[in-house]
């Protein structure tokens, strides 16, 4: 009863998601930002890894993203929707990275995974996954970005809609149609 009672009763504990509680806690005590970090670090890293194409830069930009978010947190005034705000920072940091490394990396090249990092060589990729990876890599950048945000950043449709200022239904439809197209293309390539 003890645990359920807490989740059932107090307004503080009942209505707010874990994230909202962390946000409020971080406003009181900056150390609580660490919980938001733990919640999102893997998603941000994976997203950036896909964008920039190597683990080293992805780690660097992930760190920059969270440090920038920490410093700017006083200006984040909502109790929810932290993900669109955080990923907006991550996207900007990635853009900064490409602007600063024009000669060494490009957005187009970033899709060339796997690269030279050890963890990646450990990945076992099926033949079908490789084909799918190629299909995704051949998509326009905007469509790749939608898939990254959905499947690597783990963002919900409403969050992606917020990030792009699109209607949520439009985002859903775009992704579903994209998936359907990829699936049919994959079936064709397997035949």
């Amino acid at each position: 009863m003890a645990e359920s009672c807490k989740t059932l009763t107090s307004e503080q504990f009942e209505r707010e998601s874990e994230e909202a509680r962390f946000i409020r806690a971080a406003r009181q005590d900056p150390r609580a930002f660490g919980e938001l970090y733990k919640l999102y670090v893997n998603h941000v890293f994976k997203y950036l890894c896909s964008r920039v194409g190597n683990v080293h830069d992805a780690e660097d930009i992930t760190a920059q993203t969270f440090l920038a978010a920490f410093e700017a947190f006083d200006r984040f005034h909502r109790d929810g929707n932290f993900a669109p705000w955080l990923f907006a920072i991550a996207r900007n940091k990635a853009t900064d990275h490409f602007r600063q490394h024009k000669n060494s990396t490009s957005i187009d090249a970033a899709g060339d995974f796997p690269v030279d990092s050890d963890p990646l060589t450990d990945m076992i990729r099926s033949e079908q996954a490789a084909a799918l990876s190629k299909l995704i890599h051949d998509l326009p950048e905007e469509e790749q970005e939608l898939l990254r945000l959905r499947f690597l950043a783990g963002m919900s449709f409403p969050q992606i809609a917020l990030l792009f200022h699109h209607n949520e239904d439009a985002v859903k439809k775009t992704i579903y149609r994209l998936l359907a197209r990829l699936q049919s293309q994959l079936e064709v390539s397997n035949e």
Binding site: T9, E11, E59, R78
Partner: protein, 758 residues
Amino acid sequence: MNNDISNTQFEEDVHKSFAIPEARPEFVNQVYKDLMQRAAAKTNKPRLILGMRPAWTVVLAVFTLLVISTIVIGPQKVYASVLKLLGYIPGVGIVDQSSPIRVLAEPVSITKDGISITVTSATLTGERTHLDYRIYGVPGSAYPLSEDVLGCSQQPYLRLPDGKQLTPEKDFPPIPESVNEAVLVLPCIFNTLPGTVPENWELKLTFVPAPPDLTLVPVIESVPTKTPSMAGNTLASEINPLVISKVLDIEDKFVLMGEFSYRADKDVSLPADSWWNLNQVSITGADGREVPQSYSNDFELPPPTNAENETWLYQLDKNFIPPVTITWSGQVISPEGSKEQAEFEFNAGLNPQNGREWTINKDFKLGGYNIRLVSIATGPEGYSFHFLADPGASANAISVNIAGYTPNCGGGGGGNDFPVEFDRSVCYANFNGSPEFPGGKVKIILNFQALTRKDKTFQVQWSPDTTQTGPFATSTPQMGVCLAADTLAQIKPVSADLASGTVLVYEQTDSANHWGLVLYNLNGSGKRVVVPNGNWGSLSPDGSKVAYSALDNGIHVVDLATLADKALPNSTGYDPNWSPDGKQIAYIGSGDSAISSLFVVNADGTQVRHVSNWTYEAVVGWSADSSQLYFAAPFTGGVAWKINSIDLASGTVQEHFTIENGTPKFLNAKLSLDGKWIAYRGRDNSSLYLVHPDGSDMHLVLDNAGVDGVEWSSSGWLVASLRKTNSDESIVVLINPESCTSYLLSGLKGEVEGVFIP
């Protein structure tokens, strides 16, 4: 959310095809450590130390206070000692005087592509460097389309002559006494999108010793050695958890800081899992009158003695009769008996869509109460359940969940109102994208837990040094101030000759916690709910119509004679304002590259026009001939507002003046219908100022009175709703700002949205 698609193996394949590894634990831990170090630095600010600044006049003032304090404060006093003598600079805060204070030699400005950055002032002490700078002229198109998207977030920094960089937290770190020059570097303008405006700004700053006339208010900081135990419903032997930990004595104010350590879940006299719910804070003087309090960002709260303790700060004007009593009133809420459950099956279909509603009308008996589930509706992230129950049922814990799914929010209720009709929401589409919210045939579970509620109050009393009590009881009203917090109780009810007017207020409209727009006569009679569920009302100049922003964000117009509600097609936004001729409505909407900018539509819904491309604007009002529209736009680099007008025929924008002392939160600037005055809320979020549209004769009219809603009548009366301390309710007053004649509009408790006095 479409489960058929989202949960397919194919999506899993897409995920895997990216072949991205997990983040390395070593990396994750390293960044976490870095963040925690920064968090610790933010939390533990360097403490101030005793010292004097060189300006001899201030030294004299501080020394005088020191002598007085030493004489009057003895070992028997509750407040033992003066620990520190400090200086206070309004807008800068408490400053350390142990090393010479320096300031900016002269303002420094740079302009590129029509954008100016000006450093207006600097205050350098031994412990920090405070800079004020403003950024002007950034086009709206340089910013993201929504507040949810952050543009450039690279921090500014100070570069010293030796190349060392100082990055700010709240302020910049101190600059060594031997260094009198630095360069302020802004890699970009905060929140602008890459490539939209010039970047890499550098402003060379020169610092000089502070002039003798620098406003530096002496501050006495004291630490109470004991706090009288006055906890209501608490044994005398218990330690009072409401503690004053520091007091600052600053000219005409006291700043009381403290902490609160009570934890109901650790109170052995209560059932397990009890909790404390704070309802109200009141501060009263010895005469029983409420002492107005305000918050200020100028002061650093001392860290709590325990991380779980709540810290607080109250700033009090010295016009009370001591001692003051701070009272925290609330309830201890405890579970009683065992939890009860009821369940039933519900088929939402395989692909439940947002906006769907099912009528259920299923009855349950839980905790002895009859509880009817009236309907279920879907929202963007989950389900909402609407209940009708016996009185008192909703004072207990009633929640809903769906078997087999873990919600990420909602489920329960809360608050202090216990209506017979209530809703419970539960959402599933979480921030990490999964799981999707449930569809198909699901098992709904109703949970009920009886609760007991016991009122509990905590009090702490504080009295300043007795030799200073005399002057506190008398306050000298500021010139031009019509009302202040301590004179509100003296206002008389509205006179009969004015009672025929009407006031539109925003308030709760039913027991289900809906809020909308309600019309009253000036004497509080004739209540008419105009809009049961809507916001941002505006009464037409002839008092016959109300424009408002509906729940769907559309601008609607209600005819008060028939209550016919008409949505204006293609007009979405908020803050509607009628033109004086009643033919047009200005509002704030979003479109093209600008968000929160000015739109105008004819009152019949035709000819929607986007009239400016600035961002984050607020409507101030119309010129008397309906040709010009006044609006406020915030400065990007500071907390000031620029008042502009736009000629609707030519589109020409004219800058009028800058409001420097307005609140950055909700300025609520309103132009009087005769075009003579602009009323706006002050930086304390509580006072009201008036200023002519050319920026002249700015003066305070309502001092720390809790101002929220502000409206003008065509005859020049100003109506303001004044929020009660720690309450959702307001009092509403009618003021003639020229004569200060004021009336109380008895019976009105909402936020003023419009007024009509024939």
